[in-house]
Symmetry: C2
Subunit: 456 residues, 2 copies
């Protein structure tokens, strides 16, 4: 059953896609200082569009980092108010040589749109804007009150929006949050995300000699920061994936038996996941836990890069004065960034090898969170999803972190509805990120119906 708004969305789909491509061409990489202007530009483009479609009080809100985008439409008297969240910033695109088409030149191939940010999160954020446009254009009003709050620092810890939300401004007055930054468990399987891991992203900087030294002259006497980092990292996690930081697992709240049972009934084939999604000869991680438990409900530790020394082609025989490891840990309910970071820092300082100094730096952090499933907004979401996809919704968690979801609950009392349309093979944070074109279209329809159900 089509509605005028859905009809409008279907008629205007090619234009929606062209607009999204224009937004994807802006390299709004929040972690790289040289792209600061691009971040602001992306924010302005979205703000201009929100104004054009009829949203009110549209403005950029400056933060210490990249600006927030705010807009509202509050004329649905007696109806609830949604806070629609998304982010316009993206991850760095490297390694560039692995992209089939350039990361900031969107290209359609095989029913997908390829570009950095296609799914995470410009494409999903833009679905919200286009659902609002469709409703406003078709009905000249929205079925509920809507506030839009978008950020440009999700990929770098979300400091700006966190400070804004913590200040409890009037712009946060709402009944629930709609977060479009997650994925469907499988193609055509409507999915709501009900749990997120938290994280601490850190740098370990190890310093040995006062300057770079010749490894022939000094090898055997001068401390080697890379060797020291290797020794430290090898003591952070054992070969079975068990993190060795004392107390790290204390207080973890495991999933309920019901939740675990539900996960077991999801369409998941470990061998296919290993072969097609990960593409590794073997999966790793703690024994005694399924893949979904390991990635959704257990803490993990990863190393992302180790800057320093000589990384060119060929050989340079240097003992570098310093080297750094970028190390992050994912946290699960029952853990807090502050406690985990303190345990980690104390342990690293205890195990650091002789001859070197270590700086343990916290780059950013986010709380783990679980969202309530027994409220009318979640029920509205499952009805809307059933209408569009013809199937019952599954509840999953995500191993990723959307720190603001915890802040919405803590500071503004908002339950979040995490409705996402990414797919497991969308290459988030990796080369050849994509968004399925059908999901972009049906995602907009799902959101149109959700706004209707939430106001019904």
């Amino acid at each position: 059953m089509s509605t005028p708004a859905i009809h409008y969305a279907q008629q205007n789909h090619p234009r929606f896609l062209d607009e999204l491509k224009a937004l994807l061409r802006i390299p709004s990489i929040s972690t790289l200082p040289e792209h600061k202007a691009d971040c602001r530009k992306a924010a302005q483009v979205v703000a201009d569009e929100l104004k054009r479609i009829g949203m009110e009080n549209v403005r950029l809100i400056d933060t210490e980092g990249h600006p927030l985008v705010y807009a509202d439409w509050l004329h649905a008297t007696g109806k609830p108010t949604a806070l629609c969240y998304g982010h316009y910033d993206v991850q760095p695109p490297d390694p560039l040589d692995e992209w089939v088409s350039p990361p900031f030149e969107p290209q359609e191939r095989n029913g997908n749109l390829y570009a950095r940010g296609a799914v995470d999160d410009k494409g999903q954020m833009y679905m919200e804007v286009k659902a609002l446009e469709s409703l406003l254009a078709a009905n000249h009003k929205l079925p509920i009150n809507v506030r839009v709050l978008l950020e440009g620092e999700e990929e770098v810890g979300g400091g700006g929006i966190a400070a804004f939300v913590a200040s409890k401004p009037p712009e946060m007055k709402a009944d629930f949050a709609l977060v479009c930054d997650s994925e469907m468990f499988a193609p055509n399987l409507p999915t709501l995300c009900v749990g997120l891991r938290g994280m601490i992203y850190t740098e370990l900087e190890v310093r040995g000699a006062k300057s770079d030294l010749h490894s022939g002259m000094y090898g055997g006497a001068a401390p080697n920061p890379f060797v020291a980092l290797a020794q430290i990292i090898a003591k952070l996690k054992d070969e079975n994936g068990h993190i060795l930081i004392p107390g790290f697992y204390d207080g973890i709240i495991p999933p309920s038996a019901d939740e675990l049972a539900a996960w077991r009934s999801l369409p998941f084939n470990e061998d296919e996941y290993r072969t097609h999604e990960v593409g590794a000869r073997e999966l790793v991680g703690e024994s005694g836990y399924s893949v979904l438990e390991r990635t959704w409900a257990r803490p993990t530790l990863d190393v992302h890069g180790m800057p320093g020394g000589f990384i060119g082609a060929g050989a340079k025989t240097v003992i570098p004065a310093k080297a750094t490891a970028k190390v992050s840990m994912r946290l699960v309910p029952g853990m807090t960034p502050a406690k985990s970071f303190a345990q980690y820092k104390a342990y690293v300082e205890k195990i650091k090898p002789a001859g070197v100094d270590v700086d343990v730096r916290l780059i950013h952090q986010g709380d783990p969170c679980l969202v309530p499933t027994d409220n009318k907004y979640m029920r509205a979401a499952t009805r809307a999803l059933h209408d569009v996809w013809g199937k019952d919704t599954v509840y999953i968690r995500s191993g990723g972190s959307i720190p603001i979801v915890g802040d919405f609950a803590r500071h503004a009392g908002l339950p979040s509805v995490m409705m996402g349309f990414g797919l497991p093979d969308d290459n988030l944070h990796a080369p050849n990120e994509k968004f399925n074109l059908k999901n972009f279209e049906l995602g907009i329809e799902s959101l149109i119906r959700f706004f209707g159900e939430a106001g019904g």
Copy 2:
């Protein structure tokens, strides 16, 4: 007592220095493909100068890498023939921001000349050229027969000269080699180097997933190549500096009791070395061995850089598909590169963690060597050094590697005289490399006298 040649050298010192500066301005970084033309240019500049001063048969000899420079003067009938060796290539200059003056803009400060290659080896190689010029200009002849053979790949393993020497060409017909690429043990202390460590320079490339993955989504299931590398490296060497590769120490020939006694009498203060030369809070390495034993006569293992993943500022939550570690080992007499590499490769393949593949690649190699001390060329060298410096010569080893010295002995039967004038704080392979200006001057005089003594 001055000779006409020494008088000439003293009179022409400012010009010699200007010429050296011009040579240092050419960024002949042999490991970086983009500097291939600079390497050839440096070779040509030196060849042109050899021709200008009266050397004969001057030419570049092409290799698979950068060209050799050859020249000779063979008119000292009945006198021995020296093969004068040096190299015109240099190490990469990074990290650039730690240089006080730019690496390829030579600058005099505090009695030193600062530039990449100042001491290693352009400055020392150029002393040979200027000693030959002084003798030819003052006497219109040389006291011995001289061949000059310079290379441009010393910093990348010296493949070209090794192949040339192994082919036993007529250009190698000589009685001994003069190698100017080492250092004095202390300022004003004439020094001959009689032993060098060998080396194997390798890369460990670890591959996990087929492409970069989001550490939130996949952390806990996907193998992390950096963690795997850390686990491997931590098993290569223990925290006491002992290398754990099975059989690695088998067959090592320790220094003689006499040599060890001589080392103990050298002016060496471990605390000063630690504080001023290394600048670390603590020295590392195998217990039970002195610093000189550890750096001259014991094998070591170092990591020089770990390319891969995300090395920019801030955060990227990626599990990279692959990561690499540049790992080298220094070898001592009794070890061979082939055997050590085979042991290392087999061990790495045995200890590699689950879920990853490892490529163990040999980038370059060099044999360890000891040179004979009981020949007339070494005696000529000690007399020459005593004349200039007024002190008895000390015999040291170097922890570094000059692979060609072993090849000179093996393929051409040439004993090497390793007469060097670098100083321990010259920052070889590091930012702010320098050459002491007095050593440049007295080094030329030492070589002039050495040529005289060797022909006497």
